[in-house]
């Protein structure tokens, strides 16, 4: 094979290597720009990913929905339709395997169990990456909060658009978690 052919092949691969991360950015920016923002009540804990560093795992209060359907099994992808409750927090309207013809926004979740007419699921935006020195403090801060009555004051800010969701921030007592731990 000639050098020029290899070089052209390399150019294609190089473009793909740029295109894939760029595409990731494009999608996320699209959601942040024109998506609807929801607040999800959450509790954070802190694990590590070997390549991407420290993050906190978020466990959401929204994790189940009562529906008498045994066809939902572990690992299924479902659409969770949302609306805001009276306090401004997200709540589930409906879950479905197919796209429904309703106006509400939806996010895609994974079924983790189906027990006594309740479907349990995991919301996709469960990782929030933090500076490595702050992740542990963030978890501690949350632990402290959990002991008093301020529990309702931790929530995740999530932008939703066409089933895509981007976790923008985690808020404790009205301020972003990074700033909260610095206090």
């Amino acid at each position: 094979m000639k050098t020029i052919h290899i070089f052209i092949g390399f150019l294609v691969v190089a473009l793909v290597q740029i295109f894939v991360p760029a595409q990731m950015i494009w999608e996320q920016e699209g959601v942040l720009e024109s998506g609807t923002v929801y607040k999800f009540k959450t509790r954070p804990v802190d694990p590590t990913d070997p390549f991407r560093g420290k993050y906190i795992t978020l466990q959401y209060e929204i994790s189940s929905f009562t529906v008498a359907d045994t066809s939902y099994v572990h690992g299924d992808e479902i659409k969770v339709y949302l609306e805001n409750d009276d306090h401004g927090f997200a709540k589930v309207v409906k879950v479905s395997k197919e796209l429904l013809d309703i106006k509400n926004d939806y996010v895609i979740a994974k079924v983790t169990g189906n027990y006594k007419e309740v479907v349990y699921f995991k919301l996709p935006f469960d990782r929030f990456y933090m500076e490595e020195t702050k992740a542990y403090d963030a978890e501690q801060a949350y632990r402290k909060m959990n002991s008093d009555t301020l529990r309702d004051n931790v929530h995740a800010l999530v932008y939703v658009k066409d089933g895509q969701s981007v976790l923008k921030d985690v808020i404790i007592e009205g301020i972003p978690i990074q700033e909260y731990v610095e206090k």
Partner: protein, 433 residues
């Protein structure tokens, strides 16, 4: 040229083995031979440098700098990637030496990983480690062929193994079978084959001869389902297959230590079979295995390939070309599926199989004058006997006598072989004189 070699030449001249003219000629030959050859050390250090810098960038980015804005972080993500691409592109276009290509490929490999890692951090993109590794591997696999880089190939194999184990074994929340591992392996094999064809005894081939069977043996654990027994069958069959690959004609000229297939296959077979020489292992076996499961089909496919290789060898070179290690897995299949319910029979048969393997290794070692293989055979028998000490009620006297006998066996066989070797050497010397 190394000074050691020069000194050796001078000694030869002094001892009148070769003439001074010949020594000069030899010196000149090697001097001109080395001229066009790029420095191998340079390539190795280049790769190590790129490896460290690349890994360092990933680690630094994993800090998740809060103080930078989203835009700054995004630019930071693309800077190493673009630098890596520029250098690699330049190396291809200007037809630079291998050292360039290896080093730039290694750097680019890590730059791609760092870039997608940082993007996931910035936008908190969900997804397990497995999906991240998958994207990384797919984006870098073509570099193997474009840069013809051993280092990138090695990194891809290691990352694929990591991917398989991460997705199929470690991820307790949602285990999946990492079928894509096979696709990645198929992506690497043509490159490996090219190297094999070029020079089977090169150091690069030796590394792949070890890393490929090692990777496959580790990754297979990700394909074992919940049925552990079938896992054993899968592994014994895989080791049989690896051993048979190691005995392929293409590896014939290779020294044993350079043949990872042979050694991993042989050791794996012996260890698995040794486990099944214990009676309690057979007692604990579940009555029936799930013969519709994925583990079963994988075991069956491995078995068919291994049998085909044995069959081909017999058809080509006759039954005598086969040694017992190549067919030990068939013995296990027969015992497991035909006799596993019949009292102690499977245990007795397994013990006999391992004993015969040991004896056949001793025989191969003696025939080839290879002390390594000879003692390997003796070692198999000793371990077998040691294992029997745990689950038989022999008296201490008999156990003691057995140990003394095996120990004496080590001395005697090695001594006889040493004598025979010396005798042959002496005969050769006499012939020369």
């Amino acid at each position: 040229m190394s000074s050691k070699f020069n000194k050796e030449l001078q000694t030869l001249v002094r001892d009148k083995v070769i003439s001074p003219e010949l020594a000069d000629k030899i010196e000149q030959y090697y001097a001109t031979k080395d001229v066009g050859k790029p420095n191998r050390l340079f390539a190795i250090f280049g790769v190590f440098g790129a490896l460290l810098v690349g890994a360092g960038i990933i680690l630094m980015l994993a800090h998740n700098w809060d103080d930078f804005s989203r835009a700054t972080k995004t630019i930071l993500a693309f800077v190493p990637l673009l630098i890596g691409q520029l250098i690699a592109g330049y190396a291809i276009l200007k037809e630079k030496s291998n050292a360039w290509k290896e080093a730039s490929g290694t750097f680019l490999f890590f730059a791609v990983g760092a870039c997608i890692a940082l993007i996931s951090q910035i936008y908190n993109i969900p997804g397990e480690l497995g999906s991240y590794l998958l994207t990384w591997i797919v984006l870098c696999l073509p570099l193997i062929y474009l840069l013809r880089s051993h280092a990138v190939t090695l990194l891809i194999i290691i990352l694929s193994t990591y991917y398989a184990v991460e997705v199929g074994l470690w991820n307790y929340r949602s285990r999946q079978t990492p079928w894509l591992y096979f696709v990645f392996l198929l992506g690497v094999i043509p490159y490996y084959w090219m190297l094999l064809k070029r020079n089977v005894s090169s150091n690069a081939v030796t590394i792949f001869n070890w890393i490929l069977p090692g990777s496959i043996a580790i990754a297979l654990s990700a394909f074992v389902g919940r049925d552990g027994t079938l896992g054993f069958i899968m592994y014994i069959t895989l080791f049989g297959l690896l051993y048979n690959i190691g005995r392929l004609l293409i590896f014939k000229e290779l020294r044993t230590l350079r043949n990872g297939y042979l050694i991993i296959g042989s050791l794996g077979t012996v260890i698995c079979l040794l486990i099944f020489t214990f009676k309690w292992v057979w007692d604990e076996l579940p009555g029936t295995s799930d013969y519709g499961s994925q583990s079963w089909y994988i075991a069956l496919i491995l078995f068919v390939i291994a049998i085909a290789m044995v069959g081909f060898k017999i058809w080509k070179n006759g039954i005598k070309a086969i040694n017992l290690f190549q067919v030990a897995f068939i013995g296990f299949w027969v015992v497991y599926f035909a006799f596993s319910d019949i009292g102690v029979l499977p245990v007795v048969l397994m013990n006999m199989l391992v004993l015969t393997l040991g004896i056949s290794a001793i025989k191969i070692g003696a025939d080839k004058f290879n002390f390594g293989i000879l003692n390997y055979g003796l070692l198999i028998i000793s371990v077998l006997i040691a294992c029997r000490f745990f689950d038989t009620a022999m008296s201490f006297v008999i156990r003691g006598i057995l140990f003394v006998l095996v120990g004496a066996g080590f001395f005697v066989t090695n001594y006889i072989m040493l004598k025979r070797q010396q005798k042959i050497k002496k005969q050769l010397k006499d012939l020369q004189v």
